[in-house]
Symmetry: C2
Subunit: 359 residues, 2 copies
DNA sequence: GAATTTTGCTAAAACGCTTGAACAGTCTGA
DNA sequence: TCAGACTGTTCAAGCGTTTTAGCAAAATTC
């Protein structure tokens, strides 16, 4: 990442770098020759070593030579010398499967970049062989560390080879605690926030349509619901908790049962469910939020922001997970081995819950 | 501090590779010493050189030493020698912005992997400085080539430095033709396919709600619509073409105007629009596909597959774009400089268009 | 049994960079 | 005026591979 200095003093020095298809990349040696110094000097100038004593005039000459030749350091050679590269590996089990993975990548990439690291990503789509190969590849490229991520929050096994590297689990955790650093979303807090949106809207009798699929999210989001109710002095009523498959069809299908509950508000396990529920409610002539208030979970952009009315929900902090993973890896954030670090799921309020009546 | 060395030869060699946190990675030299040969020999057996003559017994010994030590080649050293790495760079202007980018990554990654390459990705979110740095980084790491991709199909400028590498434009193209290889979706064919779904459903009077935003997609999808009509012997009626902002709100807002047209079917510029239109239509008491058939474009999973009824649409081939980009870069697929290669947008039929009445 | 070929393996030179040690000069202080 | 300190620069070793040329020993030929 040569800084591409000014073309100092002497005007009109025809910078001819960026010559496409150059047969042979410019090396340190060539720069040194042009500048009439040794390669050591050039290296010193480039790396701005603090205790390197270089005459301004020399520094100048070197800088010019670099610009003129369009020199770029060979990162491979640098890495060879230093032992580790400026790479952070990210192995993901589903880049394609979900819009969420992109956010993890994005967060990791931004944070990594900030510290001078580049992201080397590998998508395994759950294939264990691919995964092993991917990790091997990263190890061979001497990555600084590896982020091992899953597209939904879940426990995971840690591949043997992963332990050869410095690593952090992102959006997943090891079932046997104390053995790996990890960062996950705070499902319980999220569930609580979601419920609180409804509580703030003045609702007291609130249903929760949970998922049928076992997952940390299932337990956490339910726990959050209970916590919020308790904090509001409302006793938990198990009859108000329904279960459905966590997608549009599931939400739609739950409509009938929900209506029997006589609630004024419902908190859905996720946005997709809420989307289905919207249809179900509408078919029953009910309007949101007047007749019934709805909140989701995930803040899945394409859906939540554009339903009618736009859906109040709670955001899964994928970007933050990626970023925090990198920070933990680099030792910038604390990363206890004992338990996963939890990242907050912030509430995103839109129009599916009415403001409390001023009464 | 290398883990306990050989207990050579003798059976029961406990393979102790994968020793986490090994102080110093195992090198070729160490393997060579354990096996009692030169590093050259080890290199030769590892790379299975065809005209290398190695005794079976030696090969055996080396192989064992490798396994015993858990040796991994240092890719940096290999790259240094060979001049180029096994990396393909992917610079994207929006990994986060859209669920689509993930598919490009996925396709590129799968194809790259297939040829022994790893993906080095950089997300620039449109930031030109970041972009320059990202490309510089890739150049420094001696990538085999760079895929420059955009999250929606559009013309793009080619950053100066990009030309220092072998590159292919993905989902975008250079306004001045003949200067860069590129691969883009075939919008016109897609538009035609979308319209044909409706035509096959027996519809003759078909509206098209185009986008208000200028883009290759706008022109292409309209062209496809015209082509399909013409092929069906239906003359194009400009009055049947509406325009709206390409999201849910736009689609919803277009309902009223659409209804005035007296059409039996409508083709929307994209799925999000169709989603909004669904709401508008429903509010007018119309049902899909009985009263009006709808097709979208993009095949945006979360939406299209889960609307009620599920939306017939046309798929944007992001995965294929990524994969084709890699193949073009590696010279596996032909890649004319003159014009962008177009990838088909396959129709995905669901239930928003009824089968033609058997009459 | 010498001449020739084949086989099995190694020495050593790269690849492009970093870095600690070393070395001339030049200053400084007493 | 000279020891010592400082300044500016270079030497050269080393990072972990690959690869070519070459060498000794074994096998083959006649």
């Amino acid at each position: 990442m040569i800084s591409q200095e000014k073309n100092s003093g002497i005007a009109a020095a025809p910078i001819d770098h960026a010559r496409a298809g150059r047969a042979h990349p410019v090396t340190l040696r060539e720069v040194a020759e042009l500048a009439g110094v040794s390669t050591a000097t050039v290296s010193l100038v480039i790396n701005k070593k603090k205790n390197a004593r270089i005459a301004d005039e020399t520094r100048q000459r070197v800088t010019e030579a670099i610009a003129q030749l369009g020199y770029r350091p060979n990162a491979m050679a640098q890495t060879l010398v230093s032992g580790t590269s400026k790479f952070i590996g990210l192995v993901a089990d589903g880049v394609a499967t979900t819009p969420f993975a992109g956010q993890i990548i994005h967060g990791a990439q931004d944070e990594a970049w900030k510290h001078g690291y580049a992201l080397l990503i590998a998508n395994t789509e759950g294939n264990k062989d691919l995964e092993r190969d991917a990790i091997a590849m990263m190890l061979e490229y001497k990555v600084r560390g590896i982020l091992y991520s899953t597209w939904f929050h879940r426990p995971t096994d840690i591949p043997e080879t992963l332990r050869e590297a410095d690593f952090v689990l992102v959006n997943c955790f090891s079932p046997d605690a104390g053995t790996a650093r990890a960062v996950v979303p705070d499902e319980a807090q999220g569930g609580q926030s979601a419920t609180e949106i409804l509580l703030r809207g003045g609702h007291r009798r609130i249903a929760f349509i949970n998922t049928t699929t076992p997952a940390p999210a299932k337990d956490g989001r339910l726990q959050g619901y209970k916590d919020a109710l308790e904090a509001a002095g409302i006793s938990f009523d198990p009859d108000l908790v329904l279960e459905a498959y966590p997608d549009q069809e599931g939400g739609y299908g739950a409509t009938e049962d929900l209506l029997k509950l006589g609630v004024s508000a419902v908190y859905c396990y996720n946005d997709r469910m809420a989307m289905g529920l919207y249809d179900g409610l509408r078919e029953n002539g009910l309007s949101i939020p007047e007749d019934i208030a709805v909140v989701g979970f995930d803040n899945q952009e394409v859906i939540a922001a554009h339903l009618r009315p736009p859906l109040s929900t709670v955001s899964l902090p994928h970007y933050e997970l990626g970023a925090a993973g990198v920070r933990m890896l680099l030792g910038i954030d604390a990363a206890p081995l004992e338990s996963a670090v939890k990242i907050a799921c912030p509430a995103v309020e839109r129009d599916s819950v009415a403001a409390p009546s001023p009464a």
